[in-house]
């Protein structure tokens, strides 16, 4: 008897369905997130999925943004019928993907279910409110995207091989460039797709996005575009330098230095240096466009103009 009373009390209490929802999400996706983190931190995940290792910091940041926005959530208006219906369908679709047992589909089900829940509860307004956290989750979800775009990075690989070859030639090395291969002293260095800095480019853009959200700079479109272009240029030049040094070390038989930069903590140092320079880049951009206050809220007219 008393049990019945408590359970009906629970259902009617405001918090109970909410708690149940979070609990169930944890039951469903906790093990999956553990698998992602294990793969990212120990590099035991596939080459394609490793591209999304920026999720290590991105997912906690998304959770933080969610927490920050929790007070405004109940004040949002109720969704339209179309809004909640599309949310409901997405939710069902996402759960069906989860139960399909195909690993790639299971990965996709996390952002789809979260998006579906936002739509179901608050429609378009909910989607706008949670836009950034959702975007960060979507972009951190491991997919086969890197595999699909790899064939189109060949021109970038050729360009990087060409410039690295040019630099090495300038410092007096006998170097030959053939497509994506650098020949030095009968040794070959291949600029493979994942060596073309695609992973580092993705990570830089993702961290750049986090910086834009964090500082509120995303509201100033000129700065966002400048920052985006800057990140791409920075990341490609850094990669050219990295490949130049790799070829130099490999070509001159300096195996120790090659392994240090290629596999060991030299690679991590390179990544940290590149990501650190993003902060400097954003600072510099803030100084270049002084009339456009980034950290404070811009007035609506400013938003129109940009």
């Amino acid at each position: 008897m008393s049990l019945k009373v408590t359970s009906s009390k629970l259902v009617h209490s405001r918090r109970a369905p909410e708690m149940a929802l979070w609990g169930l999400l944890l039951v469903l996706y906790g093990p999956l997130l553990l698998h992602w983190y294990d793969g990212w931190l120990n590099k035991s995940i596939s080459l394609e999925h490793e591209y999304f290792s920026h999720g290590v910091i991105g997912l906690p940041f998304a959770a933080y943004l969610l927490w920050q926005r929790r007070d405004r959530w109940p004040q949002l208006p109720s969704p339209s019928l179309a809004g909640s219906l599309s949310g409901g369908l997405l939710l069902i679709f996402g759960l069906a993907l989860y139960l399909s047992g195909v690993p790639d589909a299971i990965n996709f089900s996390l952002p789809i279910v979260l998006t579906g829940l936002c739509l179901w509860f608050k429609g378009r307004a909910g989607l706008t409110q949670m836009g950034f956290p959702l975007l960060l989750v979507w972009l951190a979800t491991p997919t086969q995207m890197p595999y699909l775009i790899a064939p189109y990075t060949l021109p970038l690989q050729r360009f990087i091989a060409g410039v690295a070859g040019f630099i090495l030639f300038q410092i007096g090395l006998d170097v030959q460039v053939e497509q994506i291969y650098l020949f030095v002293n009968d040794r070959i260095v291949e600029v493979a797709p994942h060596c073309a800095g695609l992973k580092m480019l993705f990570t830089s853009l993702y961290v750049g996005l986090m910086l834009l959200i964090w500082t509120g700079t995303w509201k100033a479109r000129t700065k966002v575009i400048t920052f985006g272009v800057g990140i791409v240029l920075l990341s490609v030049s850094a990669n050219i330098l990295r490949n130049t040094f790799l070829t130099l070390f490999h070509g001159t038989g300096n195996t120790q230095a090659f392994d240090w930069l290629h596999e060991s903590w030299g690679g991590d140092l390179y990544s940290a240096g590149l990501l650190g320079s993003l902060v400097l880049l954003l600072n510099a951009i803030d100084r270049w466009f002084p009339g456009d206050p980034s950290s404070s809220l811009p007035s609506p007219s400013q938003e129109q103009e940009c």
């Binding site: 169930l24 039951v27 469903l28 989860y98 139960l99 195909v102 690993p103 179901w120 497509q179 994506i180």
Partner: protein
């Protein structure tokens, strides 16, 4: 129709339904997967695998038997960090009418790279081959032929769309045919393999086994590859069919009746 809409609208407005429906859906999914917590049988712990991996990997050491063609020499070599089987082949006894330019002195070369492990996917095999042979390549176009798979029970046919190009250096000129072969098709594009792989993952929870094929047919120095097109298509078809029969069809275990 209107009645349904009214019911849906009132349902979605009801706050209890709004709050409990997602909980219900998630609960159903959670109940279905709960046994995984005890068995540890999460789908991502056991990704789909290639059933016949060792069988197709054997191609690296043995090469491929082609009807009406004899293998003059076969060896395993490393190109672009991967193991390839390289075979020199020539018609058995002049049985192919179109192949008077091919002889044991001027053989056709057949390059095969079967996937190395379950997670191995087609990548930049064509660039690797070009890089290894220090070629100039030009005249890139497509060539289409059908691959026949005859099993005791049925004959099925599929089409293969390969790259057809000219590769040459100071010594030799070849008409080159390149494609990724799998059991039910073949294409030079990794995207086509990817789609075939997705299809079999959804249907059978398995990966699509593949072999990269590169055929080098000797032609006149800087000659016209169009003159070798019919030979290229015939030979391509023979290779595809032999791969389906010898590599992609699981060998029946001896215990079976």
């Amino acid at each position: 129709m209107e009645a349904i809409q009214t019911v849906l609208a009132s349902l979605s407005r009801s706050s209890l339904v709004r709050r409990l429906l997602p909980v219900g859906l998630l609960a159903i999914a959670a109940i279905i997967i709960t046994p995984n917590y005890i068995t540890g049988a999460w789908a991502w712990e056991q990704p789909p695998q290639t059933a016949i991996l060792s069988q197709i990997r054997a191609l690296r050491d043995t090469g491929l038997d082609l009807p009406d063609w004899q293998t003059l020499e076969q060896k395993t070599t490393e190109i672009g960090g991967h193991q390839w089987s390289v075979q020199a082949i020539a018609p058995s006894d002049g049985s192919l009418p179109d192949s008077d330019r091919i002889s044991p002195q001027r053989p056709v070369y057949l390059f095969l790279r079967p996937q190395a492990d379950h997670a191995d996917q087609p990548q930049v095999e064509w660039v690797d081959i070009n890089g290894a042979y220090d070629w100039t390549t030009d005249r890139l176009r497509r060539i289409e032929f059908s691959g026949f798979a005859s099993s005791p029970t049925a004959t099925s046919s599929h089409s293969v769309i390969a790259r057809y190009l000219r590769g040459w250096n100071l010594d030799q000129t070849f008409a080159v045919v390149q494609w990724y072969a799998w059991k039910t098709g073949g294409s030079a594009s990794t995207l086509d393999w990817f789609l075939a792989d997705q299809a079999i993952q959804w249907r059978d929870r398995q990966r699509q086994p593949w072999v990269a094929v590169s055929l080098l047919i000797p032609i006149e120095p800087l000659g016209d590859i169009e003159q070798s097109r019919s030979l290229a298509a015939t030979l391509g078809q023979t290779v595809q069919a032999s791969l389906v029969e010898q590599a992609f069809t699981p060998v029946a275990t001896s215990g079976e009746p």
